[in-house]
Symmetry: C2
Subunit: 235 residues, 2 copies
Amino acid sequence: MDIKNLSLLKDGSETFLTALGKQAHVLKCEKGKILFLHEDTAEYFYIVKSGWIKLFRETLDGTQSVNDILGKGNAFGETALFENNVYPYSAEAVEASEIISLPLKLLKEELEHNNKFSMHVMRHMAHQRHQKDMEIEHRDLQNAPQRIGCFLLNLIDRDAHGAAKIDLPYDKTLIASKLGMQPETFSRALSKLKEKTGIHIKGSHIELYDPKQLIEYCCSHCSSEFPCKDLLAQK
Amino acid sequence: MDIKNLSLLKDGSETFLTALGKQAHVLKCEKGKILFLHEDTAEYFYIVKSGWIKLFRETLDGTQSVNDILGKGNAFGETALFENNVYPYSAEAVEASEIISLPLKLLKEELEHNNKFSMHVMRHMAHQRHQKDMEIEHRDLQNAPQRIGCFLLNLIDRDAHGAAKIDLPYDKTLIASKLGMQPETFSRALSKLKEKTGIHIKGSHIELYDPKQLIEYCCSHCSSEFPCKDLLAQK
DNA sequence: CGAGGGTTTGAAGTGCATCAAATAGTGTGG
DNA sequence: CCACACTATTTGATGCACTTCAAACCCTCG
């Protein structure tokens, strides 16, 4: 994976990207490895090369709230730049992963000097904020089966018409936490979704012979109409 | 109110602020006035001079989800710049309000040319994103009375030790919608909060003789410790 | 004083959480 | 290749929080 192809770093100057490349380190993480904790002082930001990283926060008694789960090509920890150099969440590898670490300092300097890059990063941030807004809306307006359906719809290849196949990217329990529900609820809600929309489920593999049913069931309780993938997909 | 003192426009160049001033218009809005709708093409961004503006989205059947409620000094519609010049939500005056409209074009040009300003805006955006994250966390980890308590805590003057007074800024029904609950739930949850933390409620006026109880009750179910006001207050 | 919106209260229903236990699935060492 | 251990997932039973629908109450303002 080449750093230059990352969506976040698009429009970065040559000098910047070269400097980044030189200071990049690849960390091999075991499942369960904590990369940093909420409110740790931040020196690096990270990019997922492979595997999955969970961003989360927790209360004193250990209850945790999952902020996001990031896969290949996604960046995290970069917002510490704007928040007193402190990470706003904790990060943990939820399976064996490779992570690229990069100095925040370089990012900061590039932002300060390359306006085109800043504009790009702002676009990126606005996009992320919009996604968060949609997440809140979904929890407001959709029930558990609908939220799962929406999650599934965003895993379908866009050009797949008619039948479509989906492989869940990670544990059902993790998906549940990302959608803000308990594993048990996820399991039951998925069955209900099957019943309502005729999807076929075999373990982590799902087939849709009639995506329209799913779309109708889920998207009618959302302010965006179906191909909202552009909105939700890319980070 | 002078445009130059707005947190969003801090670090804007003189030329920019002057140009903005010249193109500023003050709109007087009746309660219920819709300023724009979700997905309208955006030409202006806005600043609340007085009153309250509700940002929201709705599904086809009219159910709505409240994104935010903005008061004096807050800006809205500015993110359209980064989202294909389309507003990502609808905006409505929830009471008689004065709104300043400003051309997005000027904002865009300033962002493209004034790097210091861009940095400031990015800080602003990061802050907003963090707030949204916290909102999601609150809905994950706190129950209705706790969310209300947290809302109240953010209305207290920081230097008020011992007893403190709060006046609810707008309708209870609106607060309820902002916190993602029904008016009936809000009413009952507020009573429960009273019972649990000993706050005194008279209509929209609330007194806390012992804020610690409230803090203990609410903040123990959140990943941030009490004076999280810095985080939540300023927009 | 009366109209109308905001707020509270009551009764009933629903969806999700929780706790407990069974089952399926996966990787390990023998 | 099997048996075991461990984890992920499902299923069952129950409880609680919030919603919904209905009606009463309250407050403000013409």
